[in-house]
Symmetry: none
Subunit: 204 residues, 4 copies
DNA sequence: AATGAATGAGCTTTCATTCAT
DNA sequence: AATGAATGAAAGCTCATTCAT
């Protein structure tokens, strides 16, 4: 039959629908936040039925989790790309890459780090473990730096990394929330904040 | 003393309903976050009709804003109570008081600092101005310390205060979100993180 | 006691509140129609509590009925003022006065003639009787004209008057509803429509 | 013929729900008027959930508009069926068909011609254009009659048609509103009123 | 792989009205 | 004469999800 149509047409939507859904979900997250998200809005945006989303994701949670995982992988890719041998320089690069990633990907950042704990409780453990790798990169740089005597550590590398991460996260999230005074916010401020967060590790 | 006479008359209803509503709203915020909040749930919790809430608050926004303002005032009270003459000590006390407040009042903290910017856009300007006073307290301590030569500043007190605030906020919000590794989180970690944030201002 | 205040102050709001309510209700009717009417909106506009309206009117129905009655009286006053001895001229003047009144007082006209019959079912019979006087004025002019041989009647004056009224009502209500083509509506159109409605009574 | 096969499959549900909704909406309009209308009442009447209505109509407005359009088409069908060559007779038949339609379909008539202008403002322009075709039928009869010298016109056919329409509308709407004296209303009255409205076009 | 139809629960808000004061 | 507090009912609408096809 002629109306059996080109099979390629289906292929394009077929496996790619998953991608389309993820991408449009991200777009919606930027404008309306997590709560402004709805399966129907996503479907409308992608041009498929709401039901179709359930063919690719178990539910809203699973969709969100997929997005988180994707974000975590991308963040890792960016952080891991900071190929710098000297630990102090690497730490600095990691911080700046982290902030850059957050500001450039508000939608990922939101679901990755600003979701209600209850919602995260159902996050798959193995994904969680991978997510933690991101902070570990900071810990490794700190440990390397301490070993080389170029970074000063007063607590364990893990603790220091976690504390550093909280500082960076505060910077990113308040900037994204537009809570930093507009007259202050800007590259200069970001630079100052990152320096301030790193000052603790400077050897005199 | 004389005007203390008839307030008991309407203990359960009257002006007290406003308080009950605010209090129960806070309770709901802890468990379900801002999006888990609903006028009906609040009403059910306080034991009044959903309509009654509208007698005391113009709408959900106004109710939230009242809560934010209340939180900001309480935070200010706590920060302002850190009566310490020596600037460096005062700054330290401010930081610890801030974190303490956030962890002790997750519901306030959430609406105060983690609301979607769109939702904050409707926040009354005069309340906003008062809210900013909180960060200013940090700026004053920094300026005082710099003047006295006991704190080192590489940027303006305002910028430094804002950057310090972002660090503290990151600490509080990740702890509240239960995103800090349980094996790490604890008073020791908080102490380490605060020290790390303050290290930038230490004079060698 | 000094706070017993000037009694005149109360007098002004006292009996006059009824008037204020009626007047503001009319204003609301223009903008939002009957269904856009609400006791609270009225109260807000007048500056009194919603409860206070119930001191002056039994309910929304009674308030509406009072407005209808007032409108009917005003319409009667306008029609009755068309002092013209010659019946044909008087009839013409009555028609034009009717249309003028309707267009000038859309809020009255709406409740007077465009309310759902169910809502009118509770209208007090004695008021209804007075309302009917308005159409009777047309009937009298028609009867006078027929007796004088200057108006042609093919049905009883009552029937003819009623039919004439329906035509005028159609004109007014479609104009108020903005359903007459904007390029057509205007004084010329009104004039043409009234002439057309009166043509039936012309003696050759 | 072959594609007429499986429509019985979804007799109660499927595409038929749309019809059921429209029909029940009409029924509700008769008893309670436009303002007595509610999505829930409709749903209760059809035996479906309120949500289901939104599957077939975008909202209350769209539902109403669909009803208006349907009514306009039906009215047009009735008017257009008045196949009469002689213009004067055709005009008479049009008038009587119009009134007949209005009295027989109070629910359609209501939404078609008695809706608040604000509500009509959102009516789709292309539907509006079709609706206007109804009045144009009167204009054409008038123009034909004038050209043939059997109808007297003192204004343009368009204006005369519009004026005639307002008269008929007044007749229908006051009858539907039960505002015409019960002792008068009846076929004789309708006949008298229509004659009166048409008298203007009679050639002496 | 994809869909249209359907739903129950829920949302914020407004309504007319009553009651104690 | 006037009010603040309160309410049940209802409004229009959106939600995540299921199911038969």
């Amino acid at each position: 039959m002629t109306d059996a149509a080109p099979p390629a047409a289906r292929t394009e939507t077929g496996a790619d629908l998953r991608r389309l859904i993820l991408d449009h979900t991200r777009r919606l997250l930027v404008t309306g936040g997590y709560d402004g998200l709805s399966m129907r809005k996503i479907a409308r945006g992608v041009g498929c039925s709401a039901t179709s989303i359930y063919l690719h994701f178990e539910g809203k949670d699973a969709l969100t989790h997929a997005l988180i995982d994707e974000g975590m992988r991308r963040l890792y890719a960016e952080l891991d790309a900071q190929a710098e041998d000297r630990p102090a320089r690497r730490l600095d690069a990691l911080c700046r890459a982290y902030v850059r990633f957050g500001l450039a990907n508000p939608e990922y950042y939101q679901v990755m780090f600003q979701l209600h704990p209850e919602r995260m409780a159902r996050y798959p453990p193995e994904d969680y473990r991978r997510a933690r790798r991101n902070v570990e990169l900071f810990g490794e740089a700190l440990a390397d730096g301490a070993a080389a005597g170029v970074l000063r550590l007063v607590s364990s590398p893990d603790v220091a990394a976690m504390a550093l991460w909280t500082a960076l996260h505060g910077l990113v999230s308040l900037l994204l929330a537009e809570r930093v005074d507009a007259r202050v916010a800007g590259d200069a401020f970001i630079d100052a904040a990152v320096r301030q967060a790193l000052a603790a590790f400077e050897v005199q």
